[in-house]
Amino acid sequence: MIAIGLEGSANKLGVGLIRHPPKGGPAQILANIRHTYNSPPGEGFLPKDTAKHHRSWVVNLVKQALKEAGVSAADVDCICYTKGPGMGAPLQSAAIAARMLSLLWDKPLVGVNHCVGHIEMGREITGANNPVVLYVSGGNTQVIAYAEQRYRIFGEALDIAVGNCLDRFARTLEIPNDPAPGYNIEQLAKKGKHLLDLPYTVKGMDCSFSGILASIDVLAAQLKANPNQTDALTGEPITAADLCFSLQETVFAMLVEITERAMAHVGSNQVLVVGGVGCNERLQEMMGLMAKDRGGSVYATDERFCIDNGIMIAHAGLLAYRTGCQTALNDSTCTQRYRTDEVLVKWRD
């Protein structure tokens, strides 16, 4: 069976085509293309502009994806789209295209939870059996474990997502947003080595990042006012790279802690990291050290699947469709809030 998936919950518009072979076996990725809306340095992406970007790209991307896949409208079994969570107007831009395809091609629609899309694609690509999932992106930070047909949220960010913290700090430093602010922070952090004092805000199974953002913004302002600051221990000058380094070390350590707590709770030693922040090599390294200490391992995907994409929506949607789920046209709305555990995972026992 073949599904097309449209993803537009944040600033990435993704279209993917996936094939689940009839007799089982690994899923085949027929096409997975994406176009990203980047705002200028120092600014974040706003809903109105993001939606405008998605509206102007969706037709082209679908057309190109069909061409790459060599698939016709008749070959497609269902049209999957991101129902939520995410930003309202951008979500709707993709949803309305999905509805039109459904009407013109006379194919059923499947609304997909964005988080479940990340999880299912991560499982498929890495082959991880039953890992604790750390889903970290600009919009979401959740520690998830599967139990009885639901992806249960064991811990999460209480205020802003870790990726949001990183992205907003990139704005403070006026680092370019192309290809992604988090990526540019990661590269800058590699040149840093002085660990500055920042709050460490793990609260049980949950964590909080807005206080850390406020603190690192203060440090950045201080550095701007006095560029000749030196590190107390070594006497070496402090740079923006050191700020990025300190921020990453702090927030990633927090994520490793809450992930480990969940692993201990459920008795698992496998970790699957998904979401845009999951691309970060330092996070993968730190998570790997923790998992190894527990006799386990970390599973991660590359940027084709870590970063928001259409193929994960097609994949999760097709999994649901094969169990008999579909979304009626009049129910094919979008919602900004959609909890991961609201989805009944019928395709697993």
């Binding site: 509206r55 679908v62 409208a73 309305i96 295209a97 013109l104 046209l329 709305t333």
Partner: protein, 114 residues
């Protein structure tokens, strides 16, 4: 039915489509999203060409040829009316784009060309 005094600002938009199938698809796709603002009321319907009393000439086609998407927006202020209509136009743009490039016959024709 919204009273005229509460929602005095009115705009009726008639979008002609080549046939009923397309007009009806556009209506069904757009109507799923509710209006976000309580200061705006929207109603959509299909109409036939020449049946809206503008000119008497029906072009010999079937009176059931409801190929015009008629949208009526009512709002409390002109500003809200503009906001709502802008939103409709943006959605309509995507709808028309999908029809133009991704309808079944268009894709088949493209495939035969390549």
């Amino acid at each position: 039915m919204a009273s005229d005094t509460e929602f005095p600002c009115l705009l009726v938009i008639s979008v002609p489509f080549p046939d009923t199938r397309l007009a009806s698809s556009a209506l069904r796709a757009i109507e799923v999203d509710q209006e976000l603002s309580p200061l705006v009321r929207r109603s959509m319907s299909l109409a036939g060409p020449g049946l809206d009393g503008k000119d008497g000439a029906v072009n010999g086609s079937d009176k059931r040829d409801l190929s015009i998407l008629k949208v009526e927006y009512r709002a409390t202020t002109n500003r809200m009316l503009r906001v709502a209509v802008n939103g409709f136009m943006e959605s309509l743009g995507v709808v028309v784009g999908v029809m133009q490039e991704l309808d079944v016959d268009v894709l088949e024709a493209d495939e035969q060309k390549s």
